[in-house]
C-alpha cells in the first residue's frame, strides 16, 4: 500500500465531515446584509436632517450656519448628562471620545465598546429621528441627538449641554460677533462660534444672529 492509496480511499467520507473540516471562512455577504440597511437608513436620516436644517435657516433669510466644529468631541460630564437623560450619540466616520448609550457612558478606547454598541447607537439615532427628535451632524459627521422638552430645545455644544433661552437678535443686530471683531468687545472664545461675554455664554450662528444660552444642569 502506498500513501497515495490512503489519500485516495479517504475520499468517500460522510459529507458532514468534509464540510466541517473545510473550515470555511465566514462569508462577508452576511455582514453586508446586516450592515447595509442600517447604514443606508442612517445616511438618509443625515441627509434629511441636513436638508431640514438648511430649510429652517433659509426661512430666516440667511444662509445656513457653518457646521459647528465645537461639537466634535463630548467631554465626560456632558456625555454623562446625555447618557443619564437617555440620549444616544455615536460616530459615523470620525469618532467622538465618548459614547453615551442606554444611560451608560463609555470611553471609545474602552475594549468593552463593540461595533455592535456603535451600531445600536446608530439605530437609536434613526429611532430618535423617527420619533421627531432632532439629529444634527457636526463638522466631523458625528450625529448628535437633540431632544425637545417643555422648556425648549437642548443640544450639545463644546462638550456642554445647552438650551437656547433667548434670541437677542434685535439687540445685537448689525454687529459682527466673530471672535476677531469687533475688537472693542471683550469676548472670551471657547470656539469660533461659542464665546463668553459678561459672564454669559453666547452662540454666534453665522447669518442667524447671536443666541444667549443657558447651560443645562
Amino acid at each position: 500500500m502506498k500513501a497515495y492509496d490512503l489519500l485516495k480511499e479517504m475520499n468517500d467520507l460522510p459529507e458532514e465531515w468534509i464540510e466541517a473540516s473545510a473550515f470555511q471562512k465566514p462569508k462577508k455577504k452576511t455582514d453586508y446584509a446586516l450592515w447595509l440597511r442600517p447604514a443606508l437608513a442612517f445616511v438618509l436620516v443625515l441627509v434629511f436632517a441636513s436638508a431640514l436644517r438648511q430649510t429652517l435657516f433659509k426661512g430666516k433669510g440667511a444662509a445656513a450656519p457653518a457646521a459647528a466644529s465645537s461639537i466634535a468631541l463630548y467631554n465626560e460630564d456632558a456625555a454623562q448628562e446625555t447618557a443619564d437623560e437617555g440620549y444616544a450619540s455615536a460616530a459615523a466616520g470620525a469618532l467622538p471620545r465618548y459614547l453615551a448609550l442606554d444611560g451608560d457612558l463609555y470611553e471609545l478606547s474602552d475594549p468593552a465598546v463593540t461595533e455592535d454598541m456603535l451600531e445600536n447607537a446608530r439605530t437609536e439615532e434613526i429611532q430618535a429621528a423617527a420619533e421627531g427628535k432632532k439629529v444634527y451632524t457636526d463638522a466631523l459627521g458625528n450625529a448628535v441627538i437633540v431632544e425637545t422638552d417643555a422648556e425648549g430645545e437642548s443640544f450639545l455644544l463644546d462638550g456642554q449641554c445647552y438650551r437656547r433661552i433667548a434670541h437677542p437678535l434685535a439687540e445685537y443686530q448689525g454687529k459682527s460677533w466673530q471672535l476677531s471683531a469687533p475688537a472693542d468687545i471683550p469676548v472670551e472664545g471657547i470656539s469660533e462660534e461659542v464665546f463668553l461675554y459678561e459672564g454669559n455664554v453666547y452662540w454666534n450662528l453665522e447669518g442667524y444672529g447671536v443666541w444667549l444660552l443657558e447651560e443645562v444642569k
Binding site: 500500500m1 492509496d5 490512503l6 489519500l7 480511499e9 468517500d12 458532514e16 464540510e19 473540516s21 473550515f23
Partner: protein
C-alpha cells in the same frame, strides 16, 4: 443561489445548474485542485470533468451537501490525474508533502493492495476517523482530505502551528496503530 436551488436545477435537467455551480464553487474547486495538481490546464479540465460528472450523477443522486459532494468529485479526479501525471513529474503542491507525511503510517514489508479491497480500506479509514475527537478529525481531514497546508489550517482554525503539527503527528501515530490492528501488519 442556495445549494438546494442548484440541486433542483440539476433535477430539472436545466443547464443553468452548471452555470450556477461554476459561479459559486469554481474558486473553491480550483483551490482544492491546485493543492494536488500544478498544471493550470489540468485544474481546468478536472473542473470541467467534475461538472460533467455532477450533471450525470444528479439525478438519480440527490446530494445532501452539494459543496462536499462536488469537492469529493474534484478531489477524486485530481488525485486520479495526479497519479496519471506523476511519471511526468507534473504533480506538486501540498499533495507531495501530505504523501510524505502519510508514508510513515504504512507498515513496511507488506502489500495490502493484495489483501484488502478498496472498500475494506475505506471502511477501515472511516472506523479510524470515527475514533478521533471531532476537533482532531477536522484538523486531520483539513490536512489530508482538503490538503490544506499547516499555515492555512492555523489561519482557518486559529490554532497555533505547533498545536496543529502536534495534533497531526499524534493522529498519524494513531492511524498507523489502527492500520496495524486492522490487519495491515501480519505481526499484529
Amino acid at each position: 443561489m442556495e445549494d438546494r436551488e442548484i440541486v433542483e436545477l440539476f433535477l430539472q435537467r436545466r443547464e443553468e445548474a452548471i452555470e450556477e455551480t461554476s459561479r459559486k464553487y469554481q474558486g473553491y474547486c480550483f483551490a482544492l485542485s491546485r493543492r494536488i495538481l500544478a498544471d493550470r490546464q489540468d485544474i481546468e479540465e478536472v473542473f470541467s470533468d467534475a461538472l460533467l460528472a455532477l450533471w450525470n450523477s444528479i439525478p438519480p443522486e440527490i446530494p445532501h451537501i452539494l459543496s462536499a459532494y462536488l469537492t469529493k468529485i474534484i478531489r477524486n479526479l485530481s488525485l486520479k490525474r495526479y497519479r496519471d501525471r506523476s511519471t511526468q513529474k507534473r504533480g506538486g503542491g501540498e499533495i507531495t508533502l501530505a504523501l510524505e507525511e502519510l508514508e510513515g503510517c504504512i507498515p513496511s514489508g507488506e502489500d495490502p493492495a493484495e489483501k484488502w479491497k478498496e472498500k475494506q480500506l475505506q471502511e477501515c479509514l472511516n472506523r479510524f476517523l470515527k475514533t478521533l475527537p471531532e476537533e482532531n478529525r477536522n484538523v486531520f481531514l483539513a490536512r489530508y482530505w482538503h490538503l490544506y497546508s499547516v499555515r492555512e489550517i492555523t489561519e482557518r482554525t486559529g490554532y497555533s502551528a505547533s498545536k496543529v503539527k502536534m495534533m497531526l503527528l499524534r493522529d498519524r501515530e494513531k492511524l498507523r496503530e489502527h492500520l496495524r490492528k486492522e490487519g495491515y501488519d501480519e505481526s499484529v
